[in-house]
Amino acid sequence: VHIEPTTQHGFDVTTPESLGRFFDVAVHPVFHSVMRLTGGDRSLSEDLTQDAFRDLADAVATGRESVVDVGWVIAVARRRYIDTVRRSARESSKLRLVASDDAAPEATDWSSVGGDRVLEELGRLPTDQRVALIRRHVDGAAVATIASELGRSIEAIESLMARGRRTLRAASARKDHE
């Protein structure tokens, strides 16, 4: 009998062997996605990646899932991270500083900015700004979706994204001068 390791809509992960094969395929994109969200926090990214895959193993073991794709694990990891973001936002809402973006240029040639540097600057952004930017510009999520995820209004998310982008522009300009 031909046992298909994958299906049209995902990977059959019902056996330890097939789960291992899926892990090999998924772990890098999952980690990449989480690293962007965390702004390069490797330790936190490893924790989130580990938790997401453990969730998957538990879901398979209890029969809740048998066919998944990489997006499943990414979504779990992202949700875990956003949960922590929301919690920390509630705890520290009064302590948030308004980022200064006076020096932000009108536009930046992003094609000349390396991924490592962008990741470094993302790590300096306030968490909510970084999440909003990544969800919108990398994941393609709608603003309303991001607003729902972060528990903010649409206007607040648009503001977060604008401020985050200006901050990144300003940081890029400073680096160029240096």
Partner: protein
């Protein structure tokens, strides 16, 4: 998007780093080991069984996490309700095949000479009303062969048959346990659209049969085997010399979809949908088709006429389709033959006495053009017309229907709109809107009847619409009808609402889902935007962007319409924006 935007997105996308190889290796061992440990634990708990009744023990119990959900009606034909060209094309694809199929075509199966219906598995300790899988063959050759598989939900609760449940299994009885030898992947030819993870729910209501799948069995050694899926299973034998040769004749082009495809020996109502390229083509066919369909049975290598049945305009279930009530028939393969404007069309169905009979139907109104009933509603063991609170009282059998036909409309509405709404067993079953005699299925997708009415007439409020429906109620109602249809107006979160609701609720419009809680949206069969006869409903304001987070994207065609709030499978919190109307059950 300007070039800076593009470059900015590219820069963000590139902003990442590789994981540490040591971390990856440790995590892989941890994850795989986690599942291995779980599997070993599960195996240790398999009970010993006898060879004679292998299926009695090893039918896997449903996982507690595979929760039952609020009932939904048959999703496939509901999809047809709102279908456009793509759906019609989908129906041309015919019976879904499993991924293990070979090139052998689907052919009719003669079940006349012996009992080919695989009896429901009756595991020890499990009620005989568990879901099971009907198989068209009791024996398959060791050189391989094909059979048909249909999930039968004999349980009292809806069965989740969503593809998200993953593939089924193909298993061999070793003498002591079922050994997995293959995967029975989802046959999803019946589902259309681009579906992101996770899949929308497709619920098989209690007492209903699912879509027939053609499963090709690869060559195997002789023995006892079973197919399992959705917590149901069906067993068959593989032998060197199978006593039954089920394949008689060749498959013929199927241009008529019959739902359900598997009927009990007592017959029952079926819905017919002609494959078509456009709504107009469907409408033409329905208007011009012969009023009588021939019933033919496959026997001795040919189709033989065995009876006739009148056609009913299936307005409630499928505005561009038809319905018929089939008489009792012995086990076998049958087809309905219709004479339409462009010639003869037919669709195949199967009969098995192992399947419980479906309830009878009751015509309720007349289609103005050819005087056929415009709609009907199923009545079960407790036939009664109900409204309001009583709608959701019984798990099966209770039903009500409200129709506004053209000649019942007042002057302001005459010639403009016909609204038909049915609620079966507490769930909105279907609806149709006519405008000037033309089905407006496409408009339904975009607006729903209430908005359509409001926009076209500019004055129909919710209360007025309900009042109109009440005034034109053409059916005798029980005392339950005196209950207020909308006695209360509720505003609050879904989570709070679910704490108060018993039964189904239909959400109209956009729903904003908060990703952290206890709410789940299920696909609704009706896509109805209004339930004027009093079905539980929650109305929310339209929302400008897709309301679902990325885990709940749905095909574009389903972005507007009804969605059923139910128990949560993947737990996500929900909150609704807008006013919530919830009649009767708060």
């Amino acid at each position: 998007m300007n070039s800076e935007d593009t470059d900015f997105e590219a820069a963000l996308t590139s902003a990442t780093a590789e994981p540490d190889p040591g971390f990856v290796a440790r995590l892989r061992a941890d994850v795989v080991g986690r599942l291995s440990a779980s599997s070993e634990h599960a195996h240790r708990h398999i009970e010993p069984v006898s060879d004679q009744q292998p299926e009695l023990v090893l039918v896997e119990p449903l996982s507690s996490s595979r929760r039952r959900r609020v009932p939904l009606l048959a999703g496939i034909c509901a999809a047809v309700l709102v279908a456009t060209v793509a759906i019609a094309v989908t129906h041309r694809s015919g019976t879904p095949h499993s991924s293990v199929r070979e090139s052998e075509p689907t052919v009719p199966v003669d079940t006349s000479t012996s009992s080919l219906s695989t009896a429901p598995a009756t595991p020890t300790g499990e009620p005989a009303t568990s879901p099971w899988i009907w198989l068209s063959r009791a024996e398959v050759s060791t050189s391989g062969g094909a059979l048909l598989a249909v999930v039968v939900n004999s349980s009292d609760t809806p069965l989740d048959v969503s593809p998200a449940n993953g593939p089924g299994t193909f298993e061999r009885w070793t003498g002591s346990r079922w050994e997995r030898v293959g995967t029975w992947a989802n046959g999803t030819a019946d589902y259309h659209g681009t579906v992101a993870f996770p899949w929308p729910l497709i619920m098989l209501p209690s007492g209903e049969t699912g879509t027939a799948e053609s499963v090709t069995i690869p060559p195997q050694r002789a023995g006892r085997y079973r197919l399992t899926k959705f917590g149901a299973s069906g067993t068959f034998e593989i032998s060197d010399n199978p006593t039954i040769d089920p394949y008689l004749g060749t498959v013929e082009p199927k241009d008529l979809t019959i739902s359900p495809q598997l009927l009990g020996a007592d017959g029952g109502p079926v819905h017919l949908t002609k494959a078509a390229q456009s709504i107009g083509e469907m409408e033409t066919f329905v208007n011009d088709v012969s009023p009588i369909a021939a019933i033919e049975r496959w026997a001795d290598g040919a189709w033989s006429p065995v009876g006739q049945t009148p056609l009913i305009a299936d307005g409630l279930y499928n505005p561009a389709g038809m319905a018929a009530v089939l008489p009792p028939q012995p086990n076998g393969t049958y087809r309905l033959v219709l004479t339409g404007p462009s010639g003869v069309v037919h669709g195949i169905f199967w009969v098995s006495d192992a399947v419980e009979a479906r309830p009878a139907i009751t015509p309720t109104a007349q289609f103005r053009a050819n005087r056929l009933p415009v709609g009907w509603v199923s009545l079960g063991s407790e036939p009664r017309w109900r409204a309001g609170r009583a709608l959701s009282a019984g798990p099966r059998g209770s039903a009500t229907v409200t129709l506004i036909t053209d000649d019942q409309l007042d002057d302001s509405l005459r010639g403009s709109t016909v609204v038909a709404t049915a609620v079966v067993a507490g769930r909105p079953a279907s609806f149709v809107v006519w405008n000037g005699g033309s089905p407006q299925a496409a408009l339904l997708m975009q607006d729903g009847p209430r908005r359509l009415l409001a926009e076209r007439l500019g004055k129909v409020s919710d209360a007025e619409l309900i009042a109109i429906v009440e005034a034109l109620e053409p059916f005798p109602l029980t005392d339950a009808a005196s209950a207020p249809i909308v006695p209360d107006r509720y505003r609050g979160s879904v989570a709070e609402l679910l704490g108060k609701v018993e039964g189904a609720a239909t959400v109209t419009g956009w729903v904003v889902i908060d990703p952290n809680g206890k709410i789940k949206l299920c696909e609704s069969v009706t896509e109805t935007a209004v339930s004027p006869c009093g079905a539980p409903s929650i109305d929310v304001e339209p929302y400008p962007d897709p309301p679902f987070n990325e885990a709940w994207k749905v095909p574009p065609m389903r972005r507007v319409g009804g969605y059923q709030v139910s128990e949560t499978r993947v737990e996500v919190a929900g909150s609704l924006k807008g006013d919530i109307l919830f009649p009767g059950v708060l």
